[in-house]
Amino acid sequence: MEDSIAVNEAVSEEDAAAIEAVPQKKQKKPINQAKLQDNLWGWIFCIPLIVGTVWFVYICLIMAFLLSFTNYNIINGGDMFAYMGKFSEHIHPQGAFYWYKFAFTNLTKTSYPMNELGAYLFNTVFYMIGIPIGMVLSMFFAVCMSRDIKGGNVFRVLYYLPCVASTVSIVYTFKLMFSQQGVMNGILGLKSFDNGGGFQWINLNGTTDLAWNTIIQKTGGTPTSQSAFMNDPYWCQGIFTKLVIIVMSVWKGLGGTIILYIAGLSGVNAATKEAAQIDGANGWKIFWKVTMPDLYPVIFYNIVTSVIGGMQIYMEPTLFIGEQYITSGYVSLIQMNGIKAGKSSQGAAYGMILAVIIFALTMFQFWLDSRNKD
């Protein structure tokens, strides 16, 4: 009891002090204390993320941008920051834009009638065939799953399994499934191809003479020794490997897109659908005229992220058959020149070109989007 009285007294004393203090402190704005706390703690909570982003993204971006004008080599160049400290001394001796010019002019490393950059970019864009295929398939499955059926959630989980699995494991499985005597050739009836050797999906050549002639014979043509199309370097070399990679990436990416579309489909206005049904529209028409316009934002988001991701394809071709100009994506160019060979400046220049391409593609898509809305 005594304690509480004492406390009360203390409180009342404090109160009195506060009342006395208020008129004096009026010009100093006593609310500032709370605002100060807000500002202080706001920054403190943010600081790790800000430091991380600035350090590992922005500083590296600036460094990569500046590196692309120099001739830095990681093996004998010493510390990068020390090297970049004397940036003006280290600009590339053959002009600041040497590596950019080099990227667009060197024709030496491929047997194609195009430069290295073009060859790798062609592969990257080729792999993007998988995007529309995956979108149509996942839309189909998403519409099936969002029907009023029992166990829809189970399917959702099962279709998402490939997304969580490691790419390394998946690639090795697919590699063996698509091998010459593998299960895929068994299904497609190609085991007897090439005199019983089986059709070779994963190789860097075009089709062999024998394989080509078998295709020609099956379609009713007369076999020729060397077809022009067969020898066409970049359309035909490694094309079946590329197809296997597309199949694999569609298979692996399907589940994520399905979940995206299911989320979108559950947001479609049910009342509009019902109204359309009463007006006599069939399911097909409802899908195109009611569901699709409502799904448009989801589809647009999916296209944008898929294109950004597709431009950065790297792991699948590398794991399937290694890095070379026939199958590898653009990122391999950065990896091979900038990291494996140690020519950081060249890699940085290729990286800047990639960033510009991705940015331009994204802006182009947003421009198309804005034009659609008008």
Binding site: D38, N39, W41, G42, I44, F45, C46, P48, L49, G52, T53, F56, V57, C60, M63, A64, L67, I74, M80, F140, F141, C144, M145, R147, D148, N153, F155, R156, V157, Y159, Y160, L161, P162, A165, S166, V168, S169, Y172, T173, F174, L176, Q180, G182, G186, W251, L254, G255, G256, I259, L260, A263, M311, Q312, T318, L319, Q335, I339, S344, G351, L354
Partner: protein, 355 residues
């Protein structure tokens, strides 16, 4: 009323019109179509029947798709039990698998000629497989690396992301929006294009031989995670925080006592997703960590067994060991996903991210 319903639900309800006469054939076709839930000129199918038939088709399609999704995993498991002790026919056996290898370790487990046991390929993978990286490298080292690379950055990173999200969502401070958009803009920078500069920087910091390169950057949190947790925190009432403030709790106390427990679903989901990403992070290890160092992670070590396109020691003779390693690599994420699938899927549906 009951009569009316019966009439509506009647499957074969002939719509006889007096002016038009239908031939027996079209009438029969119409009846069959109505049985399968499709309305035609002669018969109108009931809605119930149409839904029933549609459901059956949906199930067939979805089950077929499920088969396509699950079969490679089954194939992977089957291949990991292929008996490849006889190296002459080893490649052939593993390539010809459809459902189960013609000679499996299960079949020859107890025979005297192929003494290996059921998990022979796994044993090879555990004992000698990963020495392709270097002589001291063992499976346990790879597992330890993988756990280190996926648990430490994810746990610390999710907490730092959550703290940043709390600050962005619930605290008013000067320059908050500017900082937020400054951070958000970093998402637009493609990873590969700054790869070389990052590599040179980590090289200078000597983070590559010891694997710190896959730990430290992740510990600072990720912007996407912070963004999603921020969206989640906007849904929480601010009055809780104000009440706590009036009761005298500081911001740190509010964060630990209120925000972390309340935002746990979002934090868990994001943490699990980034755990899976880190566990499977082949690219980070392959690019940043030297091939023969002890710091490579499990997918990288398995990829080295294959030798990038068929040149590895195991590619020609004992590919089953590589596949066994693949199974080992997939199992932890699968188990985790199976345990938390509801949380993960609902979080994916909420945020719309695909990773």
């Amino acid at each position: 009323m009951e009569n009316m319903e019966n009439v509506e639900n009647n499957v074969e309800q002939p719509v006889v019109q007096e002016e038009e006469q239908y031939s027996a054939l079209s009438y029969a076709v119409g009846a069959v179509l109505a049985f399968f839930g499709i309305s035609s000129k002669t018969h109108r199918a009931s809605k119930k029947r149409a839904k029933f038939v549609g459901d059956i088709f949906t199930y067939i399609i979805l089950l077929f798709g499920t088969f396509l999704m699950v079969y490679p995993f089954w194939w992977m498991i089957a291949a990991s039990f292929a008996d490849t002790t006889d190296s002459a026919s080893a490649t052939q056996i593993i390539r010809e698998i459809v459902w189960w290898p013609t000679r499996s370790t299960a079949g020859s487990a107890f025979s005297s000629t192929h003494a290996g046991g059921l998990f022979w390929n796994y044993r090879i993978f555990f004992t000698e497989g990963l020495t392709v990286v270097n002589d001291d490298f063992t499976f346990w080292r790879a597992l330890l690396n993988n756990l280190l690379y996926s648990i430490v950055p994810v746990v610390v990173g999710v907490i730092t992301s959550a703290s940043a999200a709390f600050s962005f969502a619930k605290i008013n401070w000067i320059g908050r929006n500017a900082v937020f958009y400054f951070l958000l803009a970093a998402i637009m920078v493609p990873g590969p294009s700054i790869m070389t500069a990052q590599y040179a920087m980590y090289h200078g910091l000597h983070w590559q031989e010891n694997g710190l390169v896959l730990i430290i950057p992740g510990m600072f949190g990720s912007i996407m995670t912070a963004f999603f947790i921020r969206q989640f925190l906007f849904g929480l009432p601010t009055s809780i925080i104000e009440a706590a403030k009036i009761d005298g709790a500081g911001y740190f106390r509010i964060f630990c006592g209120f925000i972390l427990p309340l935002a746990m679903p979002a934090i868990m989901a994001q943490g699990l997703l980034s755990f899976m990403g880190c566990w499977n992070n082949y690219m980070g290890s392959y690019i940043m960590i030297p091939d023969n160092s002890n710091a490579v992670n499990l997918p990288h070590a398995i990829a080295k067994m294959d030798g990038y396109g068929g040149g590895g020691r195991y590619a020609s003779q004992n590919y089953a060991a590589v596949i066994a390693g693949s199974v080992i690599c997939v199992i932890p994420v699968m188990v985790l996903f199976a345990c938390f699938q509801k949380l993960i899927i609902s979080s994916l549906m909420l945020t719309g991210s695909k990773e």
